[in-house]
Symmetry: C3
Subunit: 330 residues, 3 copies
């Protein structure tokens, strides 16, 4: 593996990740992607270590990706099922985490519907002097760092498959379209993409894209973030379009008139891509509502859709993250 | 392992399996059964390969059997839980399959309550040029090939434990008794047993055994298939009796008067076995309703019941199937 | 591992465990705890063996502990999920066990809400001549041997970390406080602690601690067991205090007025520990209702609470139990 200088024990948020850290992640993920193309796809990097998959919010896709990443690093995995857990018996989340710590967990991969839970656990573990690492696998509407990092890796790899690096994104324009308000994926991507010097143009209906998002990024990165309630300005000359999953319960909350109406105004279609730069490609964190966020034919077009590559790269990026934080334990 | 000439990428149905393929499966399963009798029961045949257990219809028994088979071949396993999956978020089954493909699945073991799902996924994967293999672990009332193959292996092994082969079944009579209409196990067994030249005699109540079953098999194999609404003609001189699980919801559907009535007419008992050839043995795919399909004492009689051997052979046969299709990937 | 003379195939109850067996377990667990402190925490002791985790009653904590123990012994694990199992299809528990036996299970770790199920399965397996081992992971209100053994190991290790042995407990006083009536943990601990020659003083409200408990232990161990409906006599000069989980459904059963009232009368607090011997330490099987069985600050005090050590030792003790019974199979 890369001779790194990684020192961060937890990965909770991308807000303060620095360029050197992004580069280390990209480089490490690239080396693991190479491992995944071999006949024997395993490395002994985390042999004997225990990765606890603590998905308080159920998930198959992200959990499977982390599970496979951990297996390919030869770690042992403990899967936590909230439905049958002590939580239903009144135990606090922190006590559950302490139990996994005492059992011998080296890394806790945590998803929770409430923002802040992974950070709270990470701080509590540090206060105990535990060497355990916490990786945020999605917390409420806060952040989903591994998703944004796999998006970054996918885009950079497309620009230079041999040497994906941050500077490749400088001056590129990425449109993020949809329900920004409720999206932890959008928030994490805003941090990573502006850190790379890319222009990030948010687009969505006013109910799902409050004006205050335009003030999310400060300093010299502030000018990289734009916001529009119309789709067209965001798509114009975009190099990449990232659509977000629209959750159907938003209808019941009166935030949207109908899925048809949403698709009419914000759905990504072949016609609309005419506005973008030639060679534009589309990302989506999945699962996709076909015909809502994106037209069905676009999604299946390997020339335009990066969705499969995102999933594939997800395993390599998560291997990199587990490897990097798993090696900080003293 | 056997020096095979296996070329089939998917195992979806037994309808067109040819004698040479059956022989390869029997021979390979026999060699794996030998592995299972060793102290160390593992072989590195699928090391680094990923088997995705995609049981859209819940199952413990068949899933565990495939999981153990995959582990003993040293594969990595991804377990999919429909309850917590993206399917509940509106993703299509095909998109779920593509996600597992993108994550690196080499073999997808698929069970679904709708007939045709494994075939649909296999075709879609081939259209994408993916080298992934699909193994049907039971689709609706269509087929359950691995069950029929373990039944075949169990019967042939009984006739010659060292060299189980298709010709041993020639001229043997197998009675299949019960709810043929709703049984994917019966359908797959009809293909395999008639391919081996055995006489297959179906018996069950008219509501659960429509006349058209007698026309299921064509050509020279047609004369091997018989059908009766009475139990006695089927049992007469039978070498093997295969009873099928009776699902209790058939009562509510007015297809049966009562479980007692069913047992009185079609239940396998010690008395009724007098009609069969001496040395007759009983198969059941499990789980059994004791006292309904079969009397409780018969089920527990190791001289008469092959149920435990079926389960044990199931692991060896599934190892064989995973190994054979897992080696076709280019 | 220790050169043992272990001959017990199943671990169902501690009622008749003899001193030599306790010593073997303590010694073996100590050697595995040493393994767990190494960089590579795995040993090949159960390579190729299959441990079936049959938790008919859901559990995350105990199941994870057994799973990790089995993984660190290099065993293959089959997880059984009652929700999706054949049990919902009418199969008997014994037939489920026979299925796992036929699949190749070497050890069955069984939890069931009904007392006696692990014993019934163990007897049935022996009657079949199966070499399989059964380990009771908690059956109704009967016993939870692995919990009591990890409690024993935790206490003995505290008294002599290098050489935890039974005699260290001679003359020590242990208070067991709370809902004794419904506690399988209390029952198993009464057997192990009195076998070690410790004084066991039970305390709890009359509704949850019937008088007949004072007659549970016979012979010369009878004088070691005391019972009080007041907390103070039990705590007086206690060396260890073991609090039990209070299940909230006891309120609805009119066995308790309120959680507050319970805490006021039987909750362990810093003040009350003044009654105990200096250096007293607290155990709890978890999960804890903070502020009910024990005050929140006590629970988090590493000088007083042994809860984390219990969890950590649980993995080592379960490795020892799986190893010992896994080696009896002929």
């Amino acid at each position: 593996m890369a001779n790194t200088t990684w020192s961060r024990r937890h990965i909770i948020s991308l807000i303060d990740l620095v360029a050197e850290e992004y580069e280390t992640i990209l480089k490490t993920a690239a080396s693991f992607r190479e491992v995944l193309s071999r006949r024997t796809k395993k490395v002994p990097a985390l042999q004997g270590k225990v990765v606890a998959n603590m998905f308080f919010e159920p998930s198959t896709r992200t959990r499977s990706s982390f599970e496979l990443a951990a297996k390919r690093l030869s770690a042992d995995i403990l899967n936590f099922s909230p439905g049958t857990s002590s939580l239903t018996k009144g135990e606090t989340i922190l006590d559950t985490a302490k139990t996994y710590l005492a059992m011998g967990a080296d890394i806790m991969v945590i998803r929770h519907k409430q923002a802040g839970v992974p950070l709270t656990i990470a701080k509590a573990m540090d206060d105990l002097g535990a060497g355990v690492s916490v990786l945020n696998a999605g917390d409420g509407q806060h952040e989903h760092p591994s998703q944004a990092l796999l998006d970054l890796f996918t885009i950079c790899s497309l620009l230079d498959s041999k040497d994906p690096r941050l500077e490749l994104l400088k001056g590129k324009k990425i449109a993020i379209v949809g329900d920004i308000l409720h999206s932890r994926v959008a928030r994490s991507n805003i941090w990573s993409l502006t850190a790379a010097g890319a222009e990030v143009h948010l687009a969505g209906p006013p109910t799902l894209l409050p004006k205050l998002f335009s003030e999310m990024v400060e300093d010299d990165r502030a000018k990289l973030l734009k916001l529009d309630w119309q789709l067209e300005p965001a798509l114009k000359n975009a190099d990449f379009v990232m659509t977000l999953r629209l959750q159907k319960e938003r209808m019941n909350q009166n935030l949207l008139p109908s899925l048809q109406e949403y698709h009419r105004l914000y759905g990504i279609t072949r016609d609309r891509l005419e506005l973008c730069r030639s060679g534009v490609q589309i990302l989506h964190p999945g699962p996709v509502n076909r015909g809502v966020e994106i037209s069905s034919d676009l999604m299946d077009d390997p020339q335009l859709s990066l969705i499969s590559q995102q999933v594939t790269n997800g395993v390599a990026v998560r291997m990199a993250l587990l490897y990097l934080i798993g090696s900080t334990k003293s």
